[in-house]
């Protein structure tokens, strides 16, 4: 016979504190769940896209080709990370509630904050993992393409007897600037930060929303407004631009939405600009601030939620 209760009367009931291990358990369950939902099939699509963008359009010059490869793939990365973040966050919380999985979890000694953080961390791990894989694929394709393009361009210059040191130096410089550099990875980091902020917003909304669709739609609205928040802010800070009512509306919108354009360094990176450390600190710091405050607000709302 199996003993069900080896210790039927345990009088000590320790106080439940925040536990990173518990958060990790919840995060890993979330990751496993999402992976087994085949949500990462997007990765395969991305690889095809990267290969396509890398080797199609051979009519245009090397610089254009490398530029196009980076623009298209980094753009796809942005879309991937935000869509995955929003949709999976919007799906997970209501689904747990609907399936009563939430009851079984929260009827264990699990503080609600641990649950929220675990879910968020799970989605972020998934996005982060996906971005790392795609970064590796992109780097590989870019490096291959860069080497091939440089070789063929130099060969064609040589063929036309135009391979003066100046011309070769210029081609090398352009290709090196447009090719694989550390900046590319910082761009991916910025994409991750943006997706992380949007995911936290989705978590906040899903803690008050009554339907998945509501969460998804409103989060995408916030995402779009968030990209134009700097323009809205301008309306608020420059009184001559609009009336009092206009400024009040601008204030409400700007105060509610995070400024997502702050993470849009992708274009500059594609352009070949070097990302300074200061910019990385700025972006990481502001993303951490958004996430901390939004997570705190989510906790305030979720801790009182009637299940």
């Amino acid at each position: 016979m199996i003993d069900i209760t080896q210790n039927p009367v345990s009088t000590a009931t320790p106080k439940v504190r925040f536990s990173p291990r518990r958060v990790w358990t919840l995060a890993m369950a979330t990751v496993t769940q999402l992976i087994r939902m085949k949500i990462l099939a997007f990765l395969v699509l991305f690889c095809l896209l990267a290969a396509g963008a890398g080797f199609a359009f051979s009519v245009i010059n090397p610089e254009q080709q490398l530029n196009l490869l980076k623009s298209v793939t980094l753009g796809a990365l942005q879309i991937f990370s935000i869509v995955i973040g929003v949709v999976s966050t919007a799906l997970l919380l209501p689904k747990d509630l609907e399936d009563r999985t939430l009851y079984t979890i929260l009827s264990k000694p699990v503080p609600r904050f641990d649950y929220l953080l675990g879910k968020l961390l799970g989605v972020l791990l998934l996005i982060g993992g996906g971005l790392i894989v795609m970064d590796v694929v992109l780097s590989l394709v870019l490096w291959l393409r860069q080497t091939m393009l440089l070789d063929s361009y130099v060969a064609s210059l040589r063929l036309e007897n135009m391979d003066s040191p100046e011309a070769l130096a210029q081609v090398r410089e352009i290709v090196a600037k447009q090719g694989l550099t550390w900046n590319l990875h910082w761009a991916v980091w910025a994409i991750f930060l943006k997706a992380a902020v949007v995911t936290t917003v989705a978590l906040l909304l899903s803690s008050i929303a009554s339907s998945t669709l509501f969460t998804i739609v409103i989060t995408f609205c916030v995402t779009i407004i968030g990209h134009g928040e700097s323009l809205i802010r301008e309306f608020f800070f420059r009184p001559y631009l609009s009336s009092l009512a206009g400024r009040s509306a601008a204030f409400v919108l700007a105060a509610l939405c995070p400024d997502l354009a702050q993470f849009d360094i992708v274009d500059s990176v594609v352009n070949g600009e070097t990302v300074p450390w200061g910019a990385i600190y700025d972006m990481t710091g502001i993303a951490a601030l958004y996430m901390t405050v939004y997570l705190f607000v989510t906790h305030l709302l979720f801790v009182e939620k009637e299940l």
Partner: protein, 263 residues
């Protein structure tokens, strides 16, 4: 309920506090050339819904890429007006990207201009006019790009090349090459500034060109081109024979160009 009110209060206070902070970070990042300036669309520039959504959704680079590909299709269809208007959108979306200005200008000043110049179906006078108009459009594009990127050596170099090869305004070409070199352009732009000044009609430019080329000459390693243009400048500026540099090869006496240069 109390916590809900607290949540709303936290959101409102954070919203008010974050605005100046965001303003500072954005300003900082723009200063570091990490963020683009806000999108300013003129009247009659139609991004289309997809383009606008992409631009607002943080995908300006991608939208620009797509418009550029469309421009490429129009280029193969030799629809120059469309190429120009599409590149206008591309450069609006990505004004800090020099290569878009470069390509836009190249399409106008070289491809479109040459297309009209050699179009046998047009009247000769019209051909000349269209050639001139498109070259000037190319120059205008580069000049506009330089407003966004005043210290971009590549755009200055391209402006120099366009003035040299297309408008034949050598003073402007020389000035542009010189700017390119000043902003870290490739080594040859320094020489080319001198060469262009040498061919101009402006005595002040001749003096600048002479000083520049003479300095390069004295540093050693004179190339045939350097010597040729220096000789030209010596003539223009009437430099006394004693201070003139020796010819690289003997001057030719007869009409056969193979025998050497003439003065």
């Amino acid at each position: 309920m109390r916590r809900k009110l607290l949540a709303i209060a936290v959101l409102a206070i954070f919203g008010a506090v974050k605005l100046p902070l965001e303003e500072r970070v954005t300003h900082d990042l723009r200063g570091r050339r990490m963020l683009a300036e806000p999108l300013r669309l003129g009247v009659g520039e139609d991004l289309g819904q997809a383009g606008l959504a992409a631009a607002l959704g943080g995908l300006r680079g991608l939208a620009a890429c797509m418009f550029q590909l469309r421009a490429h299709v129009e280029f193969t269809n030799v629809n120059w007006a469309k190429v120009d208007s599409l590149y206008k959108l591309v450069t609006r979306l990505q004004p800090r990207q020099a290569r878009y200005w470069d390509e836009a200008s190249w399409h106008m000043a070289y491809n479109a201009a040459s297309y009209y110049l050699y179009n046998q179906e047009l009247k000769p006078a019209l051909r000349g006019q269209l050639y001139h108009d498109h070259v000037m459009r190319g120059v205008a594009i580069l000049e506009e790009g330089l407003k966004f990127l005043p210290d971009n050596p590549r755009l200055w170099q391209k402006l120099g090349e366009t003035h040299w090869h297309r408008t034949k305004e050598f003073k402007k070409a020389g000035d542009a090459y010189w700017e390119s070199f000043q902003h870290g352009g490739l080594a040859f732009t320094e020489r080319f500034a001198g060469y262009a000044w040498a061919q101009s009609n402006d005595p002040e430019s001749w003096r600048k060109g002479y000083a520049l080329l003479k300095r390069l000459y004295d540093k050693g390693g004179p190339t045939p081109g350097l010597v040729e243009y220096l000789k030209l400048l010596e003539q223009n500026l009437k430099i006394p024979a004693a201070r003139r540099i020796p010819d690289l090869v003997p001057l030719r006496k007869g009409p056969d160009p193979q025998e050497g240069p003439v003065r």
